[in-house]
């Protein structure tokens, strides 16, 4: 595939760092070669025609014009290639994205709660249990509204902006939002998904290279949209454990996240965000 891959690099795509990413790149590569071929082919024909049949060289036109069925073959082949791309690659790949999530606790489950203009991450902590969230508990100190009297939430980890994950382990991120629609986009992981208030949209990927990556908010979400950036740090398992421990210590619960939105007024009591699929 490396020969194919050239075209994406040529077009400026940064390297891939996730296990499934190369499949996405393949589709792009095929598309670009396919488009390139069509474009070059047609352009060649086009330019030839323009020169060959210009008025000076061809004073009188031929009423009949082309009689061969060449175009039919061409259109048919376009259909064929598109069909192959669709059935052979696109549909199966998407099915894998949305239907084959890593089973049980094999994947690292994290809740991503976007807000103007930052990403909050909610991890279950050692007990593997997510604490209950209710917006009636929300405050600057507790941006996700973790229920303080829910035992499951005691050891939960809430961070804003930066998320650490171990390399070579599937990450399952459940996307949601507090206010408007955002989009959780990881260029190098070749993964993205909208964070829509009122819904939970799970996405998953497996980072295969350690390093620090940029999380982009891909959906217009207000005046701070252009600056809504997060970081994803892919650690070696050891570093990851270290990070977890450190977070857990200074967490000791959820009341630790720096306030993402200064000037937030005292919350009144509101119904809990009840994520209904699609609603």
């Amino acid at each position: 595939m490396s020969s194919l891959a050239l075209i994406n690099e040529f077009l400026g795509q940064p390297p891939n760092a996730s296990s499934h990413g190369f499949q996405i790149d393949h589709i792009l590569e095929f598309c670009h070669w396919f488009m390139g071929a069509l474009f070059v082919g047609w352009s060649a024909f086009f330019i030839f025609v323009l020169i060959r049949f210009r008025k000076r060289r061809q004073p009188t036109a031929n009423h009949q014009g082309v009689t061969s069925g060449i175009s039919t073959h061409l259109e048919f082949s376009v259909v064929l290639i598109e069909a192959v791309l669709l059935l052979g690659f696109a549909i199966p790949l998407w099915a894998k994205r949305v239907n084959q999530f890593p089973p049980g606790n094999e994947g690292l489950l994290v809740h991503v709660v976007a807000q103007q203009f930052s990403f909050n991450y909610h991890l279950p902590g050692p007990d593997g249990q997510f604490g209950r969230r209710d917006i009636s508990f929300e405050s600057n100190a507790n941006p996700l509204g973790l229920d303080p009297n829910d035992p499951a939430g005691k050891d939960d980890i809430v961070t804003t902006g930066e998320l650490h994950v171990p390399v070579n382990r599937p990450v399952v991120a459940e996307l949601s939002s507090k206010d408007v629609i955002h989009d959780f986009f990881l260029t190098s992981m070749r993964i993205a998904g909208d964070a829509i208030p009122g819904s939970l949209i799970p996405i998953w990927f497996t980072p295969i290279k350690t390093g620090t990556y940029e999380v982009i908010c891909g959906q217009l979400c207000g005046l701070g949209h252009y600056g809504m950036k997060g970081t994803l740090v892919v650690d070696t398992p050891q570093d990851y454990e270290a990070w977890l421990k450190e977070r857990a210590e200074l967490a000791g619960g959820a009341q630790s996240a720096p306030s993402p939105s200064p000037g937030a007024a005292q919350p009144q009591n509101k119904p809990a965000a009840s994520p209904t699929p699609g609603g």
Binding site: E174, S199, I201, P202, P277, G278, G279
Partner: protein, 114 residues
């Protein structure tokens, strides 16, 4: 039903034509009565409890559709219209259904995670 063959007042065809209209009038009155009774029926049915709410909704909608059909077919003369108008309406109907059903599918085709 369209224009009389000739729109002059006194012509022979016109007489027949007016007569034809006269016949229709009775039909209109009957349909009107039918609609009123069906309205009564809908109201009555809503106080009967058919097991689930869904059943009630389905039945009420069924009656409503019958009424709507009557209005369209008789009052709006769709029972005997020109092909062109049928074509337009068929496409429209198709697109409304597309709008509704595809949205509905997308609605519940989400990757619910567990």
């Amino acid at each position: 039903m369209n224009n009389p063959p000739d729109i002059s007042q006194d012509s022979k065809e016109y007489e027949e034509y007016a007569h034809g209209v006269q016949k229709h009038v009775r039909g209109y009155l009957m349909v009107g009565a039918l609609l009123l009774t069906f309205t009564a029926i809908t109201v009555a049915l809503s106080y009967v409890h058919f097991g689930t709410d869904k059943a009630n909704i389905a039945i009420a909608m069924l009656v409503a559709t019958i009424k709507a059909g009557a209005v369209a077919a008789v009052f709006m003369h769709l029972a005997a219209e020109k092909r062109l108008i049928y074509r337009v309406l068929i496409f429209t109907g198709f697109f409304v259904l597309a709008l509704f059903w595809l949205t509905l599918l997308a609605w519940y085709d989400y990757p619910i995670f567990h």
